[in-house]
């Protein structure tokens, strides 16, 4: 294990041990948070019981739906905009400011418009994710060197062939970055919305457990969400790094 890994394990391990010590020692009382070992046990119990599997499945289903919609639409829009300078320049201020806007503030509006179902949550996830995909796609397409396009023309490749054999492979790392961002945002959008107001799903269950002082359910769920998002992010990040390293870009 190299030094960096050792350091990371040390920090995480140290943090968990500190929590354990503070909880067991009474500095953090039981109502606020159970000790880490207790959370771990509850975690296992919760998943063996299968009580919450439907909620987890529902949330993840919506996350995937949100993600797929945002990813496909984002790449399509990004590709179109790249070809139309005027439209792109007009939308540029929107993209630059987009992530400063509290998209969640639109959630109440969506509930009023679409009712309290899956719609508003998927829509929030979609809206959060799509602009990241558009911007990353534009970035990738911008970076295709002119010399590669010229090479394709000399080899007499038509537009579709150029896209498949040259542009797409070149942009692959950016498409991966876009997927990573879209997944993270879709996840935040859906779970966050469920949390604020929903009838089911993981986010809702956490809120419900909180109001019922059910730490035995709440903390394992929070832990699950942390683990899921870290795993998804690290997995895609790792893949992204490998792709970029092969290009000599990192």
């Amino acid at each position: 294990m190299n030094r960096v890994r050792l350091y990371q394990v040390g920090v995480i391990g140290g943090f968990v041990l500190l929590l354990e010590a503070l909880c067991v020692g009474g500095v953090i009382d039981k109502i606020t948070m159970p000790p880490p070992h207790r959370i771990a046990i509850d975690f296992v119990k919760l998943f063996l019981s299968a009580r919450l599997w439907p909620e987890i499945a529902k949330s993840m289903g919506n996350v995937v739906l949100s993600f797929v919609l945002a990813y496909v639409a984002g790449i399509a829009i990004g590709t179109l905009l790249h070809a139309h300078r005027v439209a792109r320049d007009t939308l540029d201020p929107l993209f630059a400011t987009y992530y400063a806007i509290p998209v969640f503030a639109f959630y109440p509006l969506f509930i009023v418009m679409f009712g309290l179902g899956d719609g508003p949550q998927v829509l929030i996830g979609f809206l959060l994710a799509i602009v990241a995909v558009i911007v990353t796609t534009l970035n990738g397409l911008d970076r295709v060197p002119e010399v590669l396009r010229k090479t394709a023309r000399i080899a007499r490749l038509g537009p579709l062939q150029t896209a498949i054999k040259v542009t797409l492979p070149f942009c692959a790392p950016y498409l991966l970055t876009a997927a990573k961002l879209a997944l993270a945002y879709a996840f935040i959008g859906v779970i966050g919305s469920e949390f604020i107001m929903a009838r089911n799903g993981m986010g809702y269950e956490i809120g419900y457990a909180y109001t019922n002082f059910d730490n035995a359910t709440m903390y394992p769920l929070i832990l699950l969400i942390l683990l899921l998002s870290i795993l998804m992010n690290s997995g895609l990040s790792h893949w992204e790094k490998l792709l970029l390293a092969r290009r000599g870009l990192r």
Partner: protein
Amino acid sequence: MRGARTPARNTLVLIAGIFVLWELAYLAVGDVALRSPLQTLRFTGGLLQSDYFWPHLANTMQAFGIALAIALTVGLAIGFALGLHRLSAEAMEPMLVALYSIPKITLYPILLLTFGLGMSAKVAFGAIHGIIPVALFTLSAVRGIRPILLKTGRVLKLSPSAMVRTILFPAAVPEIFTGIRVGFSLTLIGTVLGEMFAAQHGLGYLLMNAIGLYNIDVIMSVTFLLVVFASAVNGVLLAIDRRLHFRA
């Protein structure tokens, strides 16, 4: 293609386009779920003159201000400390990035349990949203200072404090400022988000409360105000950001 598509003109065209789409959506959906741009502007005017709105606005701004101050000081401190030490930077950066991507709203119950309902929980929530981008950008800025600039400082025999003041800091400022800009926006989002769940005061509370009362005017007005405020400030910070980067 001449005709100077300046950023200002683009922004105006964009804003006009958004208002047009908004009006069209209203005409399609109707009063049951939306208000027209004109109605919203009028209502917002009324809201800003009413007595009951300002305390909520003040509450949000107060929480936001404190959260921002915390996010900036702690984020800058962490970013500098890690950035200056190579092993720490390399080890902690991926961990900070992982923290960045988790839905922080799921941590909110923990904050509520720790701080209780009220201002402190909101401030803590806003702060945790802002700390990470500030720290990450600062870390990257400090790490990314071109070694040739530091070498030049050594050759010119600068003392360590002069090195920090006259080379390290100015070289890192553009990227640190980007972190501050992102931190600003995210802290605002975090504060309002915190108010949308389990709060009794503030703009986020007004939003959620309005759902229960089916008060579409309030929903549209408060959303409108938040969007305008967030975009306007971000626009200004972005302009400063671009100037700093142009010089660098």
